[in-house]
């Protein structure tokens, strides 16, 4: 049986594109940017101690 050598590449590419779209959808659903995970978010302060560097006045 001959194997279609194009198929794995095509499927891989479709997989990568699907992952990108999923991540974009996830970010939009969460109201965050694509690089949100890289930010330190100093603007947030929480009374529970999740400060991230912002000091309450």
């Amino acid at each position: 049986m001959k194997i279609n050598k194009q198929a794995p590449e095509k499927i891989t590419y479709i997989g990568v594109v699907a992952l990108m779209l999923f991540y974009y959808g996830y970010c939009r659903y969460n109201g965050q940017g694509l690089f949100y995970f890289m930010d330190s978010h100093p603007e947030k302060w929480s009374p529970q101690g999740a400060s991230n560097g912002f000091h309450h006045k």
Binding site: Q6, Y13, G25, Y29, L34, W45, H56
Partner: protein
């Protein structure tokens, strides 16, 4: 019996080579030339017209050709295109000192001769065109028409023989005087070989290495191909058209996601007038933390979403800054943002100038749903107070940065594929003197 000139011999019998005395037999009645594998001696023969089953040796050219090694040895049997063939002769040809390639003569009792050529690991399977009336050369256009298809001239040359081995249905002494013209329409080509007497036409098709490997049942290790074959078809791992189909669908999904999660909603808006600002300011520092405007609570819905703060102030040769704290009424979580606008204008040297802006915006991402209020602390210049400013807060605002990044990523592979497809023909024709591409074509940039 030694093969010597002007003697009759029988086919399918062992005879001694006229050069080195090793045993040779001639099995094909179409054979005109026999080249000894051991010493390269050429025997020019012809079938006897008097005695059936016999041939006559006309000439013996001792050590005429070099001994050479071929990828597929003479005598190899293979099944190509459903036909059983035997390799009966191999030529190694050269054009000047630049290019060398191998030509294999395949023989089948019923169909006669077929040919294989190999150059840089690329194989072409050829057969002679019997009905030449379907071929029309158009030399002024560097084209030939065969079966209503246009073939473009790729090369024309006189070849020389570097080495030879086996039986041949042609006169090898005439090869160097033969003008060869190759017209291509990948994966096909047609070739003309013209000597003093007549012109022969051949049609060929690119033969994938896998197919030849199958024909040889994997018994011979074929060389790896490199470069682009003369009639090698373009076969990318994924076709550009397929990539475009995927891209169109993915871009449609991308925009759907973008629009679906971009339902911008105004959740807070207030216009502050000079009285309020004056009341909140402190003359010495321009800011009084005890004079903070606390907004009524408002509800943020629909899970997590971003918040965009837009500050618009009637600044005119002054400035306004404000600290804004978004507070979750239930959890006490706070989100801080500082914003400021300044606008200056004047006339200098007879020309008016402006600097700054009356509007600015800032965004906080991933704000959970819940009940919130704002604590707003503006400050401005004294005594040139800002007469009023407006603060608007929108939730679920469309952000285009991420959209463009994803669009860019989606374009990368199709662009590379497009370039590869376009440059494939350009690179094929780079070795040809008849390239249809201009020398300074953009295709040769990378």
């Amino acid at each position: 019996m030694r093969l010597t000139a002007n003697q009759l011999y029988r086919y399918d019998q062992d005879h001694q080579c006229g050069g080195c005395s090793s045993l040779r037999s001639i099995t094909k009645h179409e054979t005109i030339n026999l080249v000894c594998k051991s010493c390269g001696t050429l025997h020019v023969i012809q079938k006897s017209i008097v005695y059936d089953g016999e041939f006559r040796v006309d000439e013996v050219h001792k050590n005429k050709f070099q001994k050479g090694n071929s990828t597929i040895p003479v005598g190899t049997k293979l099944v190509l295109k459903g036909i059983n063939f035997e390799v009966v002769g191999v030529l190694k040809k050269a054009e000047g000192n630049a290019y060398t390639w191998q030509e294999y003569y395949l023989y089948n009792t019923k169909v006669g001769y077929r040919f294989l050529t190999e150059y840089q690991g690329h194989w072409i399977f050829l057969e002679e065109i019997v009905d030449k009336k379907h071929i029309k050369e158009q030399p002024y256009d560097n084209e030939a028409v065969y079966d209503h298809e246009y073939y473009r001239l790729f090369s024309d040359y006189h070849a020389s023989i570097e080495s030879a081995n086996g039986e041949f249905p042609i006169n090898l002494l005439k090869v160097s005087k033969t003008l060869v013209k190759e017209y291509i329409l990948p994966p096909f080509l047609i070739t003309s070989e013209k000597d003093d007497d007549k012109k022969h036409w051949f049609k060929g098709e690119y033969l994938p290495t896998e197919e030849l490997d199958e024909a040889l049942q994997g018994k011979i290790i074929l060389p790896d191909s490199f470069g682009i074959g003369v009639v090698e078809p373009y076969k990318p791992r994924v076709w550009f058209t397929e990539l475009m189909q995927i891209s169109v669908v993915s871009v449609a999904i991308l925009f759907f996601i973008h629009v679906f999660f971009s339902k911008s909603e105004l959740v807070f808006e207030k216009k502050f007038y000079s009285e309020t600002i004056s009341e909140m300011r402190n003359v010495g520092s321009g800011y009084d933390s005890s004079k903070v405007y606390i907004s009524p609570s408002f509800q943020l819905k629909n899970g997590n979403a971003n918040l965009e703060f837009t500050l618009e102030a009637n600044v005119d040769n002054n400035w306004l800054e404000t600290d804004i704290v978004l507070v979750n009424d239930k959890t006490g979580d706070e989100y801080n943002v500082s914003m400021g606008v300044e606008f200056y204008s004047g006339v200098e040297g007879g020309e008016s100038w402006t600097e700054g802006s009356k509007e600015t915006d800032s965004m906080i991402e991933k704000i959970p749903e819940g009940l919130y209020h704002l604590e707003i602390s503006p400050s401005t210049t004294y005594p040139n107070l800002v007469s009023n400013f407006t603060l608007k807060v929108h939730r679920g605002v469309a952000v285009y940065g991420g959209l463009f990044i994803i669009l860019l990523l989606l374009c990368i592979y199709p662009i590379i594929s497009y370039y590869q497809e376009k440059t494939f023909e350009y690179r094929r024709w780079q070795v040809s003197d008849n390239t249809p591409f201009e020398e300074d074509s953009w295709l040769g940039v990378f």
